[in-house]
């Protein structure tokens, strides 16, 4: 008898379900809306510039500088997705870029060939990321404050060690490793010269995409950021995940540091990472990763990095005086933030 009552009530409950089935398109947009918005923002910014100066923006030659400079932002922004999605913040990566550049440079000066020096630098990045992660997680300091302080601290140590000097090793430009990392080649018979580090940045994006979306690690980063208590209750090692995201960020910063040295014809500036702090964070948020953690998009970050790199030079190319740049930059950030609202507010 009782079973019947329960079943009757449940059947009623089901027939009273007023929610409608969602179309494939709605579901696709729900899942990928933020990356699509970031892509749309990039296209719109490009179209806006291109209509103002079509000859320049349709000339492949124009994109040589773009392809040369965008990889640094791509490496930094895509790795920050892991940090922000896990619910942390990393403001220390600019100092790691500078320090890693120094490690790379000194290794080369001391006679280490470019490729091993590069790998050594990546190892250094992982180690310093581990250190930052341990301080944040086991020091129980807010990552905003801890990494803000560490950024000054690490940069300070680098400056003290370098004593304000820049270091160069131009002879390394003849090596195979140098060509492998930053050599350029013509795309077909066009005037467009593709730098190898742009290709490496695409490899990194693919790696991050798989790690974030299809690997247990990325899955757990998202779960920790979504609901830390739930993740802990289900047996996920929260501390390990939180430390690991700083290692990802450290490795990406180290790669960036070693690349910047090579891009500058084997010259190291201790402060080379400083300029990327706000650029990379802006790219991340334009790219559609929300500030609250739990969800994010690697492809969105990739498009965001392209957008923020395009704006300063693109604005000038489109005929705006240089002092318009900040205004356009701000406008794009705010408009994309509003667009991202449409692809879904936070669900709790």
């Amino acid at each position: 008898m009782r079973m019947n009552t329960v079943n009757d009530a449940t059947n009623n409950a089901n027939s009273e379900d007023h929610r409608t089935e969602q179309s494939q398109w709605t579901l696709f947009y729900r899942k990928n809306g933020r990356a699509l918005n970031a892509f749309l923002a990039l296209v719109l910014v490009w179209v806006f510039f291109a209509v103002n100066n079509p000859t320049l923006f349709l000339n492949p030659l124009y994109y040589n500088a773009f392809l040369f400079s965008v990889p640094a932002t791509i490496f930094l922004t895509t790795s920050l997705v892991f940090v922000i999605v896990s619910g942390e913040l990393d403001l220390a990566f600019p100092s790691v870029v500078g320090a890693a550049g120094g490690v790379f440079m000194y290794s080369v000066v001391l006679g280490v060939p470019v490729i091993p020096a590069f790998l050594l630098t990546m190892g250094f990045g992982a180690l310093i990321g581990l250190g930052i992660g341990l301080i944040v997680v086991y020091g129980r300091i807010s990552s905003l404050v801890a990494t803000l302080g560490l950024n000054f601290f690490i940069l300070g140590i680098v400056n003290l060690l370098a004593q304000g000097r820049t270091i160069s090793a131009p002879e390394a430009m003849n090596s195979f490793g140098y060509t492998l990392f930053v050599g350029k080649w013509h795309l077909f018979d066009t005037t467009l010269r593709v730098p190898n580090h742009f290709i490496w940045s695409l490899v990194w994006v693919a790696f991050c995409y798989v790690l974030f979306k299809y690997h247990r690690f990325g899955n757990r980063v998202q779960l920790v950021g979504d609901n830390t208590d739930s993740a802990r209750e289900m047996g996920i090692n929260i501390e390990r995940i939180r430390v690991s995201v700083f290692i990802v960020s450290g490795v990406a910063a180290a790669i960036t540091g070693a690349l910047l040295v090579q891009m500058a014809n084997m010259v190291w500036f201790p402060t080379s990472g400083k300029a990327y702090l706000l650029i990379a964070l802006a790219a991340l948020f334009v790219g559609g990763t929300p500030t609250w953690g739990g969800v994010g998009t690697i492809f969105g970050a990739f498009f965001g990095a392209m957008t923020v790199t395009l704006i300063p030079s693109g604005a000038v190319g489109a005929g705006f005086a240089g002092y318009w740049t900040d205004f356009i930059f701000g406008l794009v950030i705010i408009l994309t933030m509003i667009a991202h609202r449409f692809s879904g507010a936070r669900v709790r």
């Binding site: 089935e21 579901l27 899955n219 979504d226």
Partner: protein, 263 residues
């Protein structure tokens, strides 16, 4: 004795102290195979300490925990899980911005040797688990976001997740609190499905009517000890149980002589 009355979990003389406070002072409770045991008690009666002990969150100071005839020691959340006891806590431990399938496999992802997720295998398994407890609808599938589900449906996700670990005993901590009547009915349907799959359910509730509707047997705890227990057939109805609970609250003991002989 039928299989349905064999004990799966026995708590014997469980004592749990927090500093000078004795939260449980010698509780003996038996959970029998295939039943829905309703656990009742006032706030502060020791209900939640008892549940956390069952889940392995608390290791008792005294007493024994026997699962399938074996004394289990040490008693930790992992040990409880290994013994086949899955607890769905009140907060349900869900990640609302993620899909049903991601939530079901939270912390226990199906991966290959490189740690890459076996996406289709997880979706198929999630579908199977959801069907097993009758948790299906046109408006959602395993890839739907948990945050878009109703309260009762979220409870369903948590129950499906508990089933994934081949649990024999599912402990539901106040699963119908703050749910509407419709949503409560949904949860009841999940519980019935879990029971008919041959598993055992411990159902903790505040609302005596909810527990009455779903449970086969009742265990009432008061001030850290067992007040009384009885099969559903030993009560004349929900009012009888409520009357005894009132008596317990007012006088500190309930008159168990009014209980009927179990059928």
């Amino acid at each position: 004795m039928s299989a349905a009355s064999e004990p799966v979990v026995e708590l014997r003389n469980i004592v749990k102290r927090f500093g000078s406070v004795e939260a449980l002072s010698g509780v003996t409770m038996t959970v029998r195979h295939g039943e829905v045991l309703g656990l009742l008690g006032d706030n502060g009666a020791g209900k939640s300490t008892l549940i956390k002990t069952l889940a392995g969150v608390h290791d008792p100071d005294e007493g024994e925990i026997i699962v399938k005839g074996e004394i289990r020691k040490p008693w930790t959340p992992a040990a409880a899980r290994d013994a086949g006891i899955e607890t769905v806590f009140q907060d349900r431990a869900l990640a609302p911005q993620h899909s049903i399938v991601t939530n079901i496999f939270m912390g226990r992802e199906i991966t290959n040797s490189l740690g890459l997720l076996r996406v289709q295998m997880q979706i198929d398994e999630a579908n199977r688990l959801m069907r097993e407890i009758g948790f299906t609808s046109k408006v959602f599938n395993p890839e739907s976001t948990v945050g878009t589900l109703s309260g009762g449906e979220r409870q369903g996700v948590a129950i499906a997740r508990a089933l994934y670990n081949q649990a024999d005993v599912i402990v539901l901590d106040e699963p119908t609190t703050a749910l509407s009547l419709t949503e409560t009915q949904k949860v009841f349907r999940f519980v019935e499905a879990v029971k008919s799959s041959g598993r055992t359910v411990v159902f903790i509730g505040h609302n005596i009517h909810h527990v009455w509707d779903i449970a086969d047997r009742f265990f009432v705890i008061d001030r850290g000890t067992e007040a009384f227990e009885g099969a559903k057939s030993s009560f004349t109805g929900a009012d009888h149980l409520i009357e005894m609970m009132h008596q317990l609250a007012e006088t500190g003991s309930a008159d168990t002589s009014s209980l009927l002989e179990p059928a």
